[in-house]
Symmetry: C2
Subunit: 583 residues, 2 copies
């Protein structure tokens, strides 16, 4: 079996390169990932005698994936990469996630860990670690969470004490470490947040360290670095993707190497966070996408019930309808499609902004795409996770009783996607970020730029007669958004941040719908033009896009009316008052 | 261990009786059910060598439960029952469901099967079966679904051929049979829908049969009745509650006995359906209730993060807050409480109507409560199932990463409750029933009666100053409902039933919120009065009820605005047109 994309190089034509990557990934996903999806769920990763045992396809994913270039692709040619943009990488990983979401985390975290070393580590660290990681022979992880410090990273207590040789002695516990150990890769390289003794309290005293499970010895070998897998977490979903509890320095012999400058660890980590959050949104969209196609296939095959005739009755002599003929089933399918494709568009847009920051030719342009990316990131992470869960839930419902059964795959997608609204900052945290940081960012500049982009789409849509009603609706929602913010912002100006952010999660749901309304209008403009100009897909393809856009504007976007009403409330229902009875 | 309630009898005082039942059930649930809840999930019921093996507590549930009177309690004294009303039974089973929802189905289905025999069976059937079933020595099931006939019962093909001895030879397959077999009860008595040879097509040709797994012999023993457990269904949740695929008459030696008259089987079954649908709503409320208390306990213990100060920042020197202090967590808890208690109120109201039909002293009164019950039944089944799932989802989210872990119980509640919107008619089916049958029932009389009941609460609330704004809001929603129906009903009048019912599920969500708004206003009236009059609970108890009512009116009821906007759409988005591209 050969996947051609490792033969690509600097000389390869850009489009050949991009398409080859996507083609190879699709082949790999079909052959090596999807066939093992169900059995990885049924035989979860497990912890025994201090070791974590994972499914054999983890080895294939890391070794063959590494060989193909799945880990190295986004890096510079000098590092052995292909310099593919994040958009291509996102499209590629979307396919991997849809095929088997228990696997892509292993190479993706390895890539993320390598990226931190490449960006912020010194030459020695790069030389020692990066090559082995990009080839998939060594894995990588991110170690942030501790038992007492989940969403609140300022409370991290893992300790780093300077040693004589320039390294640090590390001691502490980390939990919820994805891909934290496995029985296949030679080594696992942990990127660990810890406090150097005497560091300032809070987020300003956290540093970043490379802490390998096995440390390189002078003779080129490896020796154990006192990193213990204390336990694993058995989970609702993503059961083939191991989640571990790690102990560092139980025997006082765990060495770590500082990445970059002291006390800047959280800053470095958060520079990677946008990509990590795009990845979560991508994964959730991909799972919801796979669930959509699974339920669509079922609906196209399953006969049940009959059409109502003009007297409101059914004729038992008539043949049963396929369930896809029933409006309620079509509603559930269209809901899924509108969520899945709306999410995917937003995720890819974020990746595009990410790439445009890299390729910007002026400081203003860089700043513009930076602000646009920052503005949409919390939604890019949250909407696919939250609406995606509801979409998969509709997918399961489409199968009726079979949807609840383990023999069918929908129940697994439902369990797998549920983590997305927790990973990398919960929906609550994302919502605080959206309303509390992003909306007021640079005096509202980020929101202003985003509104400008939406206005461009509105203008384009207004020039197409069939889209004018939708453009008008979206325009009205922008005005409603102004009204909502006009109600909320004064709380912040009065210093009442608790009240300002109390309904942040409702605002998240509200603004997400507006943004996805925008992506659908944009899809509508493109579908209309492509159909007129004889685009490369069939007319049905474009019609289906336009129909799904109409579904979104008829069934999803109107929910903003109720949400705005909630946001405009003048109560303080969720703010705890003195002596208030516990809810 | 003794549960006193088997010592109750006809002479017992009514309130002593009711309270004793509840007290005994609570004791039983604490001792015999909740401690086994997690292990029943982790060691699901399974099928091996044609037998189904279930957890040992199924034996306790059936035998001890039977001895206590859990199965017989609602029946007449003459049948060995206690004549407890459905309200008491509902409250009792609510406790059982909340403690361990994998168990109550065994006695509940046995009770339902016995009830069918008692109401419609001849004396011989009653004598042979009922005693053993009420004592829990024999189980019982309802066999409706077949592989090709799920929601569409008119397509049932299981065959009944008259035999010379007055019995029928049964042959066919039934799937999704809850409690269909177990390794403890001596026998399982199946109530089976089948067609007598030559019966009319569709729902008018279905008859009901008693088909025991083992049939009584002349000498008082039992012999196998050619009922085979072909397989079981492994499921997302309720894994301790076995779901089976049964084969009848594979060896052409399966006997069934007709219940009541031929071709009236579906009619008999649907006379039990209201109670069954109340039971599903009850079970969903109970699961959501248990999940609410589990997440509330966690929120009261888990420190994480800090309150925002007036500069919008957090001080790391400050102690961490308990998460229950954070508005977003309080929002999630209040949402749960409002759904759980709103649902429970509606479920108990349905049980009350059910009882009032029985005790009505005039035909008009009987008719009134019958129509009220019919009107609310689809919502009683659906709202606790759908909103309950979202409530449990918020419960899981409250625990962050721990919520996703198998060591915590929230993920189990999430999996368990998911069946509720499928059981006994999916949400789609319930919604068609609500809009297509109940709203137009008796020329709108049922809806008119319900509106009258709501108006009574509005009048009572209007007399309490603090409740006037809520009464006004609910009044406005009644007007909005008229507007929505004014838009939808003409489709039915034009004979366009497909369009009329296309958005039935959206209407279900809409009307559910209005109805739960009503139950909360009613709770508000009662809490205000009880607090003023020094009711038997603490002032905090009543304040918390009033606060949750306010939460519902501020955060849940406003969603009806968006839903009404959706319902008022003039499109035909979900109706399949000729040659329309497949979604």
């Amino acid at each position: 079996m050969d996947y051609e994309f490792q033969y690509l190089n600097k000389q390869s034509d850009f489009y050949v390169k991009e398409l080859t990557v996507i083609w190879c990934v699709k082949e790999f996903a079909d052959r090596e990932m999807f066939p093992f999806f169900k059995e990885m769920d049924e035989n979860p990763a497990y912890h025994k005698d201090g070791k974590v045992f994972v499914h054999e396809q983890v080895k294939t994913m890391m070794y063959k994936g590494g060989e193909m270039g799945l880990i190295s692709a986004p890096f510079d040619y000098e590092m052995g990469g292909l310099q593919i943009p994040l958009m291509t990488q996102t499209a590629a990983y979307y396919i991997l996630d849809a095929a088997n979401n228990h696997l892509p985390g292993y190479p993706a975290l390895t890539q993320g860990a390598a990226e931190l070393i490449i960006h912020f580590g010194n030459e020695a660290l790069k030389e020692t670690y990066v090559g082995h990681m990009l080839s998939g022979v060594w894995g990588g992880t991110m170690c942030l969470t501790e038992p007492q410090a989940g969403s609140s990273l300022s409370d991290i207590v893992t300790k780093a004490t300077p040693a004589d040789d320039g390294s640090y002695n590390i001691s502490g516990q980390k939990i919820f470490i994805s891909g934290g150990d496995n029985n296949f890769t030679e080594n696992v390289v942990h990127l660990v947040l810890a406090r150097i003794e005497g560091a300032p309290k809070g987020t300003k005293g956290i540093s970043l360290f490379v802490v390998p499970k096995n440390r390189p010895t002078a003779d080129g070998g490896l020796e154990w670095n006192d990193v213990t897998t204390v336990a694993d977490f058995q989970k609702l979903g993503q059961r083939g993707y191991c989640t571990t509890h790690l102990g560092f320095g139980d025997k006082e012999d765990c060495k770590g190497w500082l990445v970059g400058e002291p006390h800047k660890g959280l800053h470095y980590m958060f520079l990677m966070m946008n990509a990590a959050r795009i990845a979560v949104g991508r994964g959730a969209s991909a799972i919801a996408s796979a669930a959509y196609y699974a339920s669509l296939a079922y609906a196209n095959e399953r006969p049940q019930g009959r059409k109502l005739s003009a007297d409101g009755k059914k004729n038992p002599d008539e043949q049963q309808s396929l369930i896809i003929e029933h409006p309620d089933v079509r509603r559930m399918l269209l809901m899924q499609k509108s969520v899945v494709e709306g999410s995917m568009s937003l995720v890819l847009l974020a990746a595009k902004y990410y790439d445009l920051i890299e390729t910007a030719e002026s400081a203003e342009e860089k700043e513009k795409y930076h602000l646009l990316l920052e503005m949409i990131i919390p939604i890019v992470k949250t909407y696919p996770s939250e609406a995606g869960l509801q979409a998969v839930n509709n997918g399961l419902q489409t199968l009726g009783g079979y949807g609840f059964c383990a023999d069918y795959i929908l129940q697994q997608y439902l369990r797998d996607i549920r983590i997305s609204s927790i990973y990398e900052g919960t929906t609550g945290i994302q919502s605080q970020d959206l309303l509390g940081r992003k909306v007021p960012m640079n005096n509202g500049k980020a929101l202003e730029l985003l509104t400008g982009e939406i206005m461009k789409t509105l203008t384009a849509a207004s020039q197409i007669q069939s889209l004018q009603p939708y453009a008008k609706t979206l325009g009205d929602k922008l005005k409603l958004t102004e009204k909502v913010l006009g109600h909320l912002m004064p709380f912040a100006m009065q210093g009442n941040y608790e009240r300002f952010l109390a309904d942040a999660s409702v605002f998240m749901e509200y603004l997400s719908l507006v943004l996805i309304g925008w992506t659908w209008l944009d899809l509508g403009v493109n579908a209309t033009k492509s159909k007129e100009n004889g685009g490369s897909y069939s007319p049905d393809f474009y019609d289906s896009k336009l129909h799904t856009m109409k579904y979104f504007y008829t069934y999803e976007l109107p929910k903003t009316s109720g949400l705005a009403e909630i946001l405009l409330n003048t109560e303080n229902i969720t703010i705890k008052k003195e002596n208030e009875p516990i809810v």
